[in-house]
């Protein structure tokens, strides 16, 4: 598994996610947003968290128009894997890789805390190391994580089983502990071919028991094992 981790001006989680991928056994190449091409043989593109372009105008909006994003869209169109975390999810939506948009948290506050998630389907390249309905504990750190889409898109996401993770409490109740007002408690969604995943929470923070848990490891282990 060769992963290209893209750095935009203002990205700050690229090092952490590269480390989590390497720990899981991936080969990681760091890429710069101004490049026109992805590294040869890229299997997975990672859009990391941070505050690309200072979140100016709309989160992810300017980064989504960076040079490298044409190559990322082409990679996704070929069926390549893309993982967008936090700001990377916002960028993926703005770039048209995923439907909808992330808006200001309903409570207006930047939310930084541990967060339980309910895992959706486990037959994708991102989640094979989890069990269906499993409750995992990772963390969130965002001011704009409120997933918004039109009714038709919401129905399609539900109907096609494309909601990857939902916010929930420790018991798996998705009507509780929604940190940002997200529709249907959506914490992460897949593209229609299930090869692009965008999620607000940070699995890369939870890969060491020393710093609070290892529930994020399953995602990286799944990806490294993916064809």
């Amino acid at each position: 598994m060769r992963a290209a981790v893209i750095t935009f001006p203002g990205t700050n989680r690229d090092g952490d996610i590269a480390r989590a991928l390497r720990m899981a056994g991936a080969e990681v190449i760091q890429s710069w947003h101004a490049e026109h091409d992805l590294p040869a043989g890229t299997d997975l593109v990672v859009l990391p968290g941070g505050f690309a372009y200072g979140d100016y105008m709309r989160t992810g909006a300017i980064a989504a128009r960076a040079n490298i994003m044409d190559a990322v869209r082409a990679h996704a169109a070929r069926g390549g894997y893309v993982l967008g975390v936090c700001n990377g999810f916002q960028i993926a939506c703005e770039a048209g890789l995923l439907p909808g948009v992330l808006m200001r948290n309903a409570g207006l506050k930047f939310v930084c805390r541990m967060q339980h998630l309910q895992v959706g389907r486990v037959d994708t390249a991102f989640t094979r190391h989890y069990t269906a309905g499993q409750v995992i504990k990772v963390c969130v750190a965002h001011g704009e994580g409120n997933y918004v889409c039109d009714d038709e898109t919401a129905l399609r996401l539900e109907g096609e089983n494309r909601i990857a993770f939902r916010y929930c409490d420790a018991a798996g109740d998705i009507t509780r502990e929604n940190p940002n007002g997200s529709r249907h408690a959506i914490a992460g969604i897949y593209s229609d071919n299930l090869r692009v995943l965008g999620m607000m929470p940070h699995p890369e923070n939870l890969v060491e028991s020393l710093v609070g848990g290892t529930d994020g490891q399953g995602l990286f282990a799944s990806l490294v094992a993916a064809e």
Partner: protein
Amino acid sequence: MKARVTVTLKTGVLDPQGKAIEGALKSFGLEGIDSVRQGKVFDIEIATQDRSRAEALLKEACEKLLANTVVENYKVEVIG
């Protein structure tokens, strides 16, 4: 030419910032404010003197970057 692009949230899209501003205005005791919706204004200078070309250019700028049409509407005004 000068132009102004106004980007506003579509009806029904939650606007917590607008709500907070509304609450602040009401807390001053200002009478008669029903609601506030927040948006953005872009003042843009354009090289062309052709009004219809300017409008087409700005529309493209809105579609490509200035507005996210999933949740936002935009209005283009060429001021001249």
